[in-house]
């Protein structure tokens, strides 16, 4: 679900892979929930709600490089 490019770890699932984002976050020791207004899914634990994700045009970059 990840690709490494130019030193960045990018999620390959895009912005609507809710189940994958929740599954990965469930196993990630670095997951930290972002502030409420920036969370975008109802899944309490999801990469989409993590403060260490940086949104890109197509998906997001894990700023901790820890998603894999």
């Amino acid at each position: 679900m990840w690709k490494e490019e130019n030193g960045k770890t990018t999620f390959t699932g895009g912005k609507e892979a809710y189940q994958d984002a929740a599954r990965i976050a469930e196993q990630c020791s670095l997951f930290t929930e972002d502030c409420e207004e920036e969370c975008m899914t109802d899944d309490p634990r999801s990469c989409y709600n993590c403060r260490y994700r940086r949104w890109t045009k197509e998906s997001f970059v894990c700023m901790k490089g820890a998603g894999q």
């Binding site: 502030c35 207004e37 920036e38 109802d42 890109t56």
Partner: protein, 242 residues
């Protein structure tokens, strides 16, 4: 005097978010007698690698009422200077809230920020026509937060749609909620379906999860969805970013 107050680029990966900083700032402004404020609306801007946002490129805007605009603005500047996160690029916009003003150029600037990469020079140029009705200032780093701050204030002045900060936790053990009761309890001004069409009928509601409100058509709005023959306030706005 009524104002729009918008801040942007005040956070880093480890700090509190810009919305919380705005709420804290306005809470302190109230305690110190500078201003009273309303709810906070979040505005999303363009996601593009050319923009140096922390993680989501959004700005936060609220309304404020003050008797001393100059003192209030100076308070906000000082607050941001001391409380914005290290490494951030904070910007502040304080804009007159007056229906007699034609906000068209600022609304257009806000819309552009949602689709194009803009510069600080463009922000200052857009603000210039508003003279003393707009204050735009940088408070550290590159100061590029002035772009989002002005864009957010413009969008709010134009009653553009945005998410309202915070969640509601209505007691779910209440026997029956109606839209009228929900509106009275939480200040909801409007109900709409997912397409934005207004719902005026007094419907029975069911709650399953904490509820988010949005600012739509210039009103505090609850979006309702239908599920198993019941109406539920939509708990979270799942949307594509950028």
């Amino acid at each position: 005097m009524n104002l729009f107050v918008c801040i942007d680029d005040t956070d880093n990966l480890e700090s509190i978010g810009t919305g919380e900083l705005l709420e804290n700032m306005m809470r302190e402004a109230a305690v110190r007698g500078f201003a009273q404020s309303g709810f906070v609306v979040r505005y999303q801007f363009l996601i593009d690698d050319a923009i140096a946002y922390t993680s989501h490129n959004s700005a936060m805007c609220c309304t404020a009422q003050t008797d001393d605009r100059a003192a209030f603005t100076a308070f906000c500047e000082n607050y941001l200077r001391h409380n914005a996160a290290e490494g951030s690029d904070p910007g502040l916009c304080v804009l007159t809230d007056d229906e007699a003003l034609d906000y068209t150029p600022l609304i257009a600037f806000g819309r552009l920020a949602q689709t194009q990469v803009l510069t600080k020079a463009q922000a200052y140029a857009a603000a210039k026509a508003f003279g003393a009705d707009v204050h735009l200032s940088e408070h550290g780093g590159s100061g590029i937060g002035v772009i989002g701050a002005l864009a957010g204030a413009g969008l709010r002045a134009g009653k553009a749609e945005g998410r309202i900060k915070g969640k509601l936790y209505p007691p779910m053990d209440r026997i029956e909620w109606t839209t009228a009761a929900f509106a009275a309890a939480y200040g909801v001004e409007r109900f709409a379906d997912e397409d934005g069409s207004e719902i005026t009928e007094n419907l029975t509601l069911r709650f399953e999860l904490p509820t988010k409100l949005i600012y739509q058509s210039g009103k505090v709005t609850a979006v309702l969805i239908e599920k198993d023959g019941c109406h539920l306030p939509k708990p979270k706005i799942k949307k594509n970013k950028g």
